[in-house]
Symmetry: C3
Subunit: 500 residues, 3 copies
């Protein structure tokens, strides 16, 4: 008890007059947690949640509001958004709720909790491919074969390399790190602490902050992927470093490309003069070049307050094309649940190997044009229409050229499968596990994606020597030569056999 | 008309007393463009062009001046440098000039326009390899083969991979993104806008901001490559992110190497304390470690105002060696127009395959020493002479070792060509399109360049595992093994044929 | 003499009242060096060494002190730490001491010099693998073979690729750039300057700032590797860019992984709000996410001044595991001198090829647990215990999976050696110089390291497509196929021979 008292005193000393009033429940949390997890508490004290109560926030002009609820129940609206305001919400729906110091606390705050004040954002986000990133990967049988070929445990014995399946933890450490895990309560453990013994739920798939996390309350996603706890700052989400967490590898080199683009260079050079916290975000005044959020998410206005683009957390509202080749570029899917898509061969892919769209699952030409116009509206805040049209035309040319490169690679692997030199789907082989197949994958997953993203953002060398056309063209001649070698050696085997 | 009035009011409300006087013509532009392209206008309002008239700028001490004209015609000198001051300049020489609201406006502001106030910089830049980056690439027949092998469209049919040539847009998306396009007027289109219909020139090769852009007035280059519009800030140009736009890929990993060098680490850690806007730039006071601009461009002084290095926009004034291997390192070329160079075999390369310099096209040993001394003078602001000499000696050793590695690779590919196992120049084949040739290219274009730049800047792993000696040595043993394999298979073909 | 007077005046004009008193000897240095090396002097004038005398520094509360000496001899303690206070220290032990303007000056200030005020840090650092990085690499015969295969000079003649040994400068440009050189005095040269002729020692292995530099006084390491001269700022050392100098390549992609981790994203987005200069460093208040220094080095306190972790310059005090695979992950070595280690086959490696630890040279399970607890204590400042345990469990799973992948690669290369298809150690061949061996090296040196570091820091794609599981699995199937090819071709050779 002595320790608790000390902690309470400590806390009293630091809670400044500048905060919104703290609820009794939150004060109780802080009595211990200011000492137990001081980093969390100090971080939160820098947040808007600490400074401004929802009731105060609702008094702002609608365009300046960061909360989208029309009203907040009065019993909580006048307090700062503290520990209790989130971790005690909706206790009955949370399987990770546990009794803790007299309260029903849950560990994993979910989008369904955040929706109390931010319902529009939560709803939009749930309509987002990112919210579905877990099932979109894990429920797609084809992608499962790719995942297993990457995360599986290999052994080599007597001249044979075998994949013995994915060991525990490997999916979580790899794909699900970004895609999100399924967080489940697997038991309860008693933890001895300086403050006494506590029974605390044991979670599997935890910790994780992936964008498509399945939470213990059944909700999808993790707001803290981008609005990182416990400051939940709009500044964090508007900086490209946040997107870079998942969008930097060779499969989606978006951040890398941005960072060498004109926009990214201006951001890096001048961000110290920008205002990353203002809502709505004023073009030219608050920033002089876009970050990821500018083009894809933020509510943008001009200096007179005219809206240039509405805020959206359904990230593809401004995107007609899906650049991420599977295996070709294609119109955005209609539903965020992409695991339902089947191409004309019945394969869960948005295009055929011949490039034909699985059209019924993809947005219409008209919808594509609407989305393109929304995006171009953002560009036109700083660029003339002829500039924007010229850029867009080049960008769409890159889709054609990158798709054509992938088609050549697909034709090579197709011939390898047909001749049986590589064991393909027709022979019940994984299309992803042999050396030539790996090269085919890199053609669409790495090089074509890089070419397209470089065209979209003006990313210079990522379209050429850094994962772009150089790599694509080199890979193609290598693939052709490798297939030639297979043929030669196989023929020799045959002719050798004949002679033996 | 109503809209125009609203826009004008909007503008009146925002133009602060802090600007230099605006010309009537610029006021007229702003009436609409403050609303139409608010990002451009707000960005410009943060510029020195907005704040200080040329007449005021000319009153500064010469060493502090950012304009190099001795005088500016009085009719324009007293106004802020606004829309009209640049976009109405030299209308007769611009093929992209069009009548717009009673003025002869052109779209692409060129170095010839900037030269009105910045004549020395424009002239120096025109003497720069970068200003010639378009013809240096596009008029060199040999480089053309490399470009086609990278940007060409491949198809694979009946076991044969064919390159069907470079489709429209591909050069622009790839090489010309940095090298610059040729911007041409291809027609006129009528554009419907909220302000009425306008006839606007249609441009090909646009948008583009490459360093060697050929502008519609025939001038070379794009000042906004580095002094990005419409803030045109010296701060932008002095930050390394700007150079990174083109100098980051594996062919010229300069930015990457800088960023892990001691200098780059200090820049990243302490840039918040530095003054990136002061001219002249004071060593130790305004900054405590160099950026790209410090060593290659800027006017540097010590605290007493003593000049350490003169400003230059001919970037190789301080560079004796050209590190970019073609295929070996060599003295800088005499002329920025490198397409004229021929080696002793008549090939448009600054060295022979045997490493011999195309000496008549390259600067003399004496000129190299002068340039080296200028560069060392910059180093000595912070380093003792023995430090600098030791560094330089190591750097020049890296040229020898990287060139020797390239020589081994050239000998391998030479043998492959001689034996006909790879179709080389003697058989009228492209030297750049087969798998073994691609590996040879990476030896000089990637690994040797990385080793040299890492030595120049102290770039640690870029000289070893990150594209350096590890990759160079691995590539060599792979090349040798691949050639061995070709020989073996070919011999087998022969012996199999004999026996058949 | 005239020049000297001018310089003196210049200096008098700039030395502000804000400095600690300057010693007469330092004043004398500045008379010339303020002009000769203005960057050094201005940089130093921004340092704490300039502002605060050791005597003043000793008056601080112990927890706030940056110096660890209990007392400083009074004759020097009251002066600013200037040129003379370091470069004249311990003249008799420095082989690079030379007579200069009446003083015994040495060039290379060493940890033994810094130890006058910072003895604990110097002692801890000397117990650090980094301090031993030179002998750990250069005295290990096995590593020598790797070094030679990378830095050696290759030539190709008559179908044979030969390694002709490591030319002068190559080790310095490559491995020793980070590991540190041995700095030796090789002679004296007379240098003509504007201030007269000076006899100055000539040094080999200079310049260098590697972490394991052997200094002319026999001491190990270079404090300026991280506390870069002449500002010696704790801010520099606390920013991750400093660590990135050596920890960014594919062998130790720590910085890259950090930069896409949640921690790195927060650092990049919010560092402008943080205090990088305060000692002790207060969690949550001075920073809201860790940098490299936070977890591995810094003295951390909470807002009440409670110590969360003690400062250490023996970087592995908080590290149970050594992630850097040689060839498998293993417990940290007991001694920083790893060249003594022998595995059960007598090879200087901390594990056998079968993965068995060279246990007597490695820390005990108990010591590992102690170190893990220290590290987890840092995590718990911001994360709950169940979060931390979950993270740690996943991290240790990554060690198993990455080691298993390496084991498969080792089994492939082992078979290649056994069959003689690749010339291995048993045949007195280097295990590092053939193409298949290079692929084996990349399995442990690149991909396994990346997987482990990504698990340790939450580094997303560095565990998958960016050097992680994708690359590891692709490399394995490539290795198996390559060995198969060797077998096939060899068999054909045999059968061809039989028939001939």
């Amino acid at each position: 008890m002595g320790l608790v008292i000390i902690a309470m005193i400590a806390w009293s000393g630091t809670a400044g007059a500048e905060s919104a009033p703290l609820s009794e429940a939150t004060e109780a949390c802080l009595e211990c947690h200011a000492s137990v997890t001081p980093g969390i508490v100090e971080d939160w004290k820098k947040s808007r949640h600490f400074l401004v109560s929802p009731a105060e926030a609702l008094k702002k002009e609608e365009i300046e509001r960061r909360i989208s609820a029309e009203s907040i129940p009065s019993e909580t609206a006048s307090f700062a958004v503290g520990c209790a305001e989130c971790h005690l919400l909706n206790p009955e729906s949370h399987k990770d709720t546990f009794e803790h110091e007299g309260e029903n606390v849950h560990i994993v705050v979910s989008p369904a909790d955040c929706a109390k004040c931010h319902p529009k954002e939560a709803a939009q986000y749930n309509d987002n491919k990112m919210a579905w990133a877990y099932p979109n990967l894990m429920n797609n049988e084809l992608y499962g074969k790719l995942r297993e070929s990457i995360n599986g445990q290999y052994s080599y014995k007597a001249g044979v390399l075998s994949n013995n399946g994915v060991p525990a933890g490997e999916d979580e450490l790899a794909c699900l790190s970004c895609h999100g895990t399924e967080v489940k309560v697997t038991g309860v453990e008693t933890r001895e602490t300086d403050y006494g013994d506590f029974d605390i739920p044991v979670l599997s798939g935890w910790p994780n902050q992936g964008v498509g996390r399945i939470n213990p309350d059944g909700s999808r996603g993790s707001c803290t992927s981008c609005h990182t706890r416990h400051q939940f700052s709009i500044k964090t989400a508007r900086k490209p470093y946040t997107c870079a967490q998942c969008h930097k590898g060779p499969d989606v080199p978006a951040y890398k490309i941005y960072s060498v683009s004109k926009h990214g260079g201006l951001f890096a050079s001048h961000q110290d003069e920008w205002n990353f916290s203002k809502a709505a975000w004023t073009v030219g005044e608050d920033f002089t070049a876009p970050t990821c959020a500018t083009c894809h998410v933020s509510l943008l206005v001009d200096k007179e307050g005219e809206v240039i683009a509405e805020r959206t957390h359904r990230m593809n509202d401004r995107l007609p094309w899906r650049l991420f080749g599977l295996v070709y570029s294609h119109p955005q899917p209609v539903s965020p649940d992409t695991s339902r898509i089947r191409n004309s061969d019945g394969i869960p892919l948005p295009t055929g190997f011949d490039g034909k769209y699985a059209a019924e699952y993809l947005i219409s030409r008209e919808e594509m044009e609407n989305r393109a116009e929304t995006m171009k509206g953002v560009c036109q805040a700083c660029h003339s229409r002829s500039w924007v049209d010229g850029h867009w035309d080049l960008f769409e040319k890159s889709l054609k050229s990158s798709d054509a490169g992938v088609m050549s690679a697909t034709n090579i692997i197709g011939e390898a499968w047909k001749t049986g030199l590589v064991k393909g789907p027709a022979e019940n082989g994984s299309p992803f596990d042999e050396p030539l197949e790996k090269k085919w994958i890199e053609q669409w997953l790495f090089y074509a994606n890089s070419m397209r993203l470089a065209a979209a953002m003006g990313g210079a060398d990522y379209g050429v020597f850094e994962g772009g056309r150089w790599n694509a063209s080199k890979n193609l001649v290598d693939m052709a030569e490798r297939l030639e070698l297979y043929k030669k050696l196989n023929k020799k085997d045959d002719s050798a056999k004949k002679r033996d």
